[in-house]
């Protein structure tokens, strides 16, 4: 690898890398705060509180 490609890498990281990072963060946040997911998360959050009986009882 020459020093030119080191530079290329830096430029790449500062443009596409940054975009990727932003998109990833956006994706995670969207998933987390998507209104339709709210009920599912609330259910999951509370579901562990009574799991000893299992589904059999």
């Amino acid at each position: 690898m020459t020093s030119a490609s080191h530079e290329t890498l830096t430029i790449f990281a500062q443009s596409w890398g940054l975009l990727y990072l932003a998109l990833l963060a956006l994706g995670v946040l969207l998933y987390t705060f998507w209104p339709n997911n709210r009920a599912r998360f609330d259910r999951a959050k509370n579901s562990i509180m009574n799991d000893e009986t299992g589904p059999w009882a």
């Binding site: 990833l24 946040l29 999951a44 959050k45 799991d51 000893e52 299992g54 589904p55 059999w56």
Partner: protein, 524 residues
Amino acid sequence: MTVAGRHDPFGIHGIIVLLTGLGCAFCLIRDYYTPEPGADRLSSYYDEPIKAGILLALIWALIGMFFGDWVAWLLAYPQMTFDADWSSFGRMRPIHTTGVIFGFGGNALIATSFHVMQRTCRTRLADQLTPWFVLVGYNLFCIIAVTGYLMGVTQSKEYAEPEWYADIWLVVVWVAYFALYLRTLARRREPHIYVANWYYLAFILVVAMLHIVNNLALPASLARAKSYSLFSGVQDAMVQWWYGHNAVAFFLTAGFLGMLYYYLPKRAGRPIYSYRMSIVGFWGITFFYVWVGSHHLHYTALPQWVQTLGMTFSVMLLIPSWIAAANALLTLNGAWHKVREDATLRFMMVAAVFYGLSTFEGSFLAIRPVNSLSHYTDWTIAHVHAGTLGWNSMIIFGAIYYLVPQLWKRPHMHSPALVEFHFWSAIAGTFIYVFAMWNSGITQGLMWRAYNQSGTLAYSFLDSVMAMHPYYIARAFGGLLFLIGTMVGVYNVWRTIQAAPAHLTQTEQPALPGSPQAAPLVGS
């Protein structure tokens, strides 16, 4: 193996493997003639492997911490050992690290993951035999590793010392573990996978990835324990610390956060403060952590841009780390009276506090100018032990004190007073240890870089060694307190198991017909 390695420690390991294999075969054959289990087996959780895993974790805790404290005393009094090759500091130190991280931590992770995945999925483990294969196989790996160190078998990669044959075996075990996890998830009767499982899954997956890449090596011969790393010099250093720091990330953090996100809400009797925060934290940790390994190589021959990347991401990592710690502590809001009364919950609370503290310290130490002072000194040791004693051990002990009465169907631990004693000796030990190492680390760092007025170095290296003596005694004493706490904990667990089962006092437990017979391999 036994025959091929006659002239090598390899041969002794062959014998150990042979004996384990024979023992397993015996157990399987013995069980072959027991009657076919009824369908009702499927309507109960499979708790026997969890019990075995907890006991194994405690045994490894005693081994690992004993050797840790012994080598700590050796640094203060180097003559406190035998004139034999196996008993020198260099060979016993990896027994400490492997014993506590992989023996104690690993078994605790496997046991609690079996517990959490069954409960959160509301289903039985996907297989009767695989959990035992994972447990026995994993412990065989640990035994091979630890006995190897005594005989001088090591590839010198920090936290990845075991040689090539043990590494290959661990991959086999790990694939079985991963498959078991996925199969159990596939059986779940809950639409959503609870977030603790995400953390456990990240732990299993990423550790596999790290382990395979870091341990790529060419054995000098198939009949010898010695191998040579595929990488050399600067590449090897980067791979090693990519592994080393991510072992912290995914072995000692991700899996343990899984533990925290399940056992803390359970014990506090309140659901996690914010489920959404736990999701954001998860992806943050998974993404940021993998970049930070290069902060172990500041000012070295590693190219500067890699060092800068490592530093930047280390600082950013503080955000998801503190999200996790805050989430845990906010869960306790409204339950602080329980924290005051219940030592088990207090273990978990302290774990979350130390998690927050040591991640802050970690990000701080990763900043290059700070690292120039702290690197190579005992400050690093202070940081590591704030994490492992304060965070990892505390959450494990919290989980164990929660699990033991529940799994063995006892109303409570044998002696709540001894749990209190364990808590306070562990806390005192951790504080003494960490403060001693902070002092010694900073003193060391300052002495090494001190110049006198004529512009020459003020201290010889030996001066700094002599200055460490009191701190090394304090550290070994702190470690001893922690070890004593653990011994008391093990005694308490043992007495709890010995006590008569409390059939009548249980209200929450479902009837589990025939669960004692469900153990095919270990008659616990």
